[in-house]
């Protein structure tokens, strides 16, 4: 165990059915350090955190915590707390209708009698010393989100924690609140608390962290001091691309040549979830939105489809001014949208494969024009064959299909409406490699048939293979647009990281 380390994890492994979530991962946290844990989705960040907090049991490896003799065994969240490891989650897990002081001491009062007066005094002292702007007797829900988060931190700190885990603490805070939180983090750091900071916001990592550990596909990529790891290299490491190799990656497949007509054009389009942006797409063009998770790429396409409340902007479809305020408007204008979260927004699990395939077309036909049974069967048969959807039958509930086949059903749903412009948000996420390739090929084929497609994927290679234009987003703003020769891994990463290579 290193001299100033408060937490040492060595050779941690964790297996889930079918996947190796963590493979021989080391992690070291030093006293008075803010340590960012970075990695794309599925890299193993949350599994590592959950092993540390006793939510998951590790399959192999050892954990040492400062001040505890020998190996520390963590089998439950209670064990973690006893070892001095506290977690503040993204969603606040306190009770909003209790007071601040009650929230700080609930579950750890001693004896049968509770002396709230005394606890309130103690709460006031802690809040004061940490400079948190909340009163002990104030109801928690009356505090801002940032302050609620800070109360959660104060609760953790008062439990004598040596290791504080902050899991995406800033995702619902505005800039000022983030600064407040950073102030508190630095304060705790100076008191010797080791902080593990999990976030998707690159700039915040550089604003507050001392050290970065990068994970990818359940394996440790490395541990770096912040000053030794420029932002662009961090991005490359998270995505698993060596900067030198990236330029050499060749492109596969034939890309389509976009036509001249602009199919869809938006100026200053904004929604409840996205900042104003401009966008247009030509006939037969495949474009992509890229950026790290939380960069606003999904929110932008949701705004195009009217999936979130549209708050402003001018939209033209085929040169005509139109108003797209809700999904139905977009559908009438020939736009289809395959959502990012298949389970939540895509499939209607209990309904049959047939109903799921014809749904969008049926809605476009209208309430008083139901399709006949034979028509539905015909369309379902046609698309089950065309996309080779593996299902026991047309009447099988779509929820019982595999992920890839569910995705094909939703694709079929939109292809059936014959859209001019199809938005595919993460169509290849969580599905097997074979189906991934099928979907990419399909995208290229559709473009050849003059359909415009927006294709979003977390895997940059997929987008480089299919898109002729990439829009790069960072922190909810469009920061670049890459075409032609600029469509290389290196360029994309530089633009994502903001390394001055903005095209």
């Amino acid at each position: 165990m290193q001299g100033d380390a408060v937490l040492t994890m060595r050779g941690i492994s964790k297996q889930f059915p079918g996947t190796k979530a963590l493979n021989n991962v080391d992690f070291t946290l030093r006293r008075g350090e803010i340590h960012a844990l970075m990695g794309e989705n599925g890299a193993g960040k949350s599994t590592l955190i959950k092993v540390l907090t006793g939510v998951h049991e590790k399959d192999g490896g050892s954990i040492h915590v400062e001040g505890i003799e020998g190996e520390t065994h963590i089998h439950s969240p209670q064990d973690a707390q006893n070892a001095g490891i506290s977690t503040v989650y993204q969603e606040i897990t306190l009770c909003p209708n209790l007071t601040v002081a009650e929230n700080m001491f609930i579950g750890r009062t001693e004896g049968a009698m509770v002396h709230w007066k005394e606890y309130e005094k103690r709460a006031a002292a802690i809040l004061g010393s940490l400079g948190i702007p909340a009163r002990p007797r104030q109801e928690l829900s009356s505090c801002s989100l940032a302050v609620q988060q800070m109360v959660a931190i104060a609760r953790a700190v008062d439990m004598n924690c040596k290791v504080l885990i902050l899991d995406e603490p800033t995702s619902s805070l505005d800039e000022k609140e983030v600064e407040m939180l950073f102030g508190l983090m630095r304060d705790l750091k100076s008191r010797g608390v080791g902080i593990i900071f999990v976030t998707h916001f690159l700039e915040q990592v550089y604003a507050v962290s001392d050290r970065i550990t990068v994970l990818r596909n359940g394996e440790l990529v490395g541990e770096y001091a912040v000053r030794d790891l420029p932002q662009v290299e961090l991005v490359a490491k998270m995505m698993g691309k060596d900067l030198n190799d990236m330029a050499q990656l060749e492109q596969l497949g034939q890309k389509s040549q976009p036509g001249e007509d602009v199919v869809y054009q938006a100026e200053n389009l904004s929604s409840a979830e996205s900042r104003p942006f401009d966008f247009r797409i030509r006939k037969g063009e495949v474009n992509g939105f890229t950026g790290l998770l939380g960069s606003g790429r999904s929110e932008s396409v949701r705004a195009i489809f009217g999936a979130d409340r549209v708050t402003g902007g001018r939209v033209r479809v085929h040169g005509r001014n139109v108003k797209i305020a809700k999904p139905h408007d977009a559908m009438k204008n020939g736009i289809g949208y395959l959502p990012e979260d298949r389970k939540r927004d895509g499939i209607i699990a209990d309904l049959s494969v047939r109903d799921n395939i014809i749904l969008a077309l049926q809605v476009m036909k209208g309430f008083f024009h139901p399709m006949s049974r034979s028509e539905m069967e015909k369309f379902a048969d046609e698309y089950i064959r065309a996309l080779s959807i593996k299902t026991a039958g047309k009447d099988t509930p779509v929820g019982s299909l595999s992920g890839g086949n569910q995705q094909k059903v939703i694709l079929a749903r939109w292809l059936l409406t014959h859209p001019d412009y199809l938005i595919l948000d993460e169509p290849t996420r969580g599905i097997d490699v074979g189906t991934k390739l099928e979907i990419q090929k399909l995208v290229l084929k559709l473009a050849e048939e003059n359909m415009s497609v927006t294709f979003i994927s977390s895997e940059i290679e997929e987008m480089l293979r299919t898109c002729s234009r990439l829009i790069v987003m960072r922190d909810r703003n469009i920061v670049g647009e890459l075409t032609g020769d600029e469509l290389t891994q290196a360029h994309v990463m530089k633009t994502i990281a903001g390394g001055g290579a903005e095209a």
Binding site: M364, H369, P370
Partner: protein, 354 residues
């Protein structure tokens, strides 16, 4: 959890109706053994001098009419909103009161007056249900809580509308509607059920209501992203239930020849929810089967009539009913169902091996 649900759904076709059908068969069999005369149908002359069919079977089908009609609408609300309307009895009484109030405004009760009164009470019931529906769909209040409001005050509103305890309406038209039409030996309320059932069947045939309702019930967010407006669909389910409730209110009022805010359609909300549940419909919304709910309604009425025929003290009937219903509902519960399915497939497997 959803995986389990799917497993059960996979039975498809008759699967959902299996439990209610078995329950009905057992009840039928029980009565046959207990008293073979239970099913005898006779012809008698009633007070108005009409020849009518009599017997337990006729009585069961007749008295279940209001329940069956309300269960129809309740199925739709359940499917779309994933919750139940507990104000149907109260709103039905309001509808009955409006019916009587409008009739009293006419110098004599003729066909025109009855039609006007029915139209008025449908309109009022729909308005009250739009209130319920708005609370549920726009303000996203839990259906049971939203409809608790009218559940508590609806009967007072009904009393306030007619202004006296039990205003009577007496006319051959009214008794024809509540009992039998001269020359037709079958009780009129039964035709009411058939009419409402047919109307709903036509709506399902000529609109996409079923697909939209099920989509909203299963996954509201996904339905919205496919261009369906969940608010409209939920409101629509409440409107249709409103019409059902009004018809049930009119039938109940005509049956008694008076409107009593204390007894009209009393406790029907719970029976209607029960009918939906016995019919194998998921009370959490989603896919639904109207025929299941109708079957449920007749099972409940059959149970009551059987107990009455066994001379069980009416005070105790509810307790006996409860026991039987516990059994039916348990048999239809996901846990028991999946156990039974497992047993069944194991039995089939061992038979195959031998």
């Amino acid at each position: 959890m959803s995986a389990k649900k799917i497993q059960i759904r996979r039975g498809g076709g008759l699967g959902q109706l299996l439990i209610p059908l078995v329950a009905l068969a057992i009840l039928l069999l029980f009565n046959l053994i207990r008293d073979p005369g239970f099913y005898s149908i006779g012809v008698a002359v009633n007070n108005s001098g009409n020849r009518v069919l009599t017997g337990n079977v006729i009585s069961i089908i007749d008295s279940a009419s209001e329940l069956a009609i309300i269960a129809l609408g309740m199925t739709l609300v359940t499917a779309a909103c994933g919750g139940q309307d507990i104000s149907v009895g109260a709103v039905g009484t309001i509808a009955g009161s409006i019916f009587v109030k409008v009739l009293k405004a006419f110098p004599s009760i003729n066909l025109g007056a009855v039609l006007a009164a029915m139209l008025a009470c449908c309109l009022v019931a729909v308005l009250f249900n739009l209130f319920n529906g708005a609370l549920v769909s726009v303000f996203r209040i839990q259906p049971m809580i939203a409809t608790l409001i009218l559940f508590s005050c609806g009967r007072s509103i009904a009393y306030w509308i007619v202004g006296s305890a039990t205003p009577q309406i007496d006319s051959p038209i009214i008794s024809a509607m509540g009992m039998t039409i001269p020359g037709i030996p079958i009780p009129t309320p039964i035709f009411g059920v058939i009419l409402v059932g047919l109307l709903l069947a036509l709506i399902f045939r000529f609109t996409t209501l079923r697909l939209y309702t099920e989509s909203v019930g299963v996954n509201q967010g996904a339905a919205r992203l496919n261009g369906i407006n969940p608010v409209v669909i939920k409101l629509l389910s409440f409107v249709i239930l409103g019409v059902c409730v009004a018809v049930a209110g009119v039938i109940g009022t005509c049956r008694m020849g008076q409107v009593s805010h204390k007894t009209l359609l009393i406790d029907i909300e719970m029976d209607a929810i029960l009918a939906v549940a016995i019919g194998g419909n998921n009370l959490g919304g989603g896919r639904f089967r109207i025929s299941g709910s109708i079957l449920g309604a007749y099972i409940i009425q059959m149970l009551t009539t059987t107990l009455l025929a066994m001379r069980v003290d009416p005070v105790n009937i509810k307790a006996y009913k409860a026991v039987v219903i516990i059994i039916i509902v348990m048999a239809g519960s996901p846990v028991v169902k999946s156990r039974l399915t497992a047993l069944w497939s194991r039995a089939r497997l061992s038979r195959g091996v031998n």
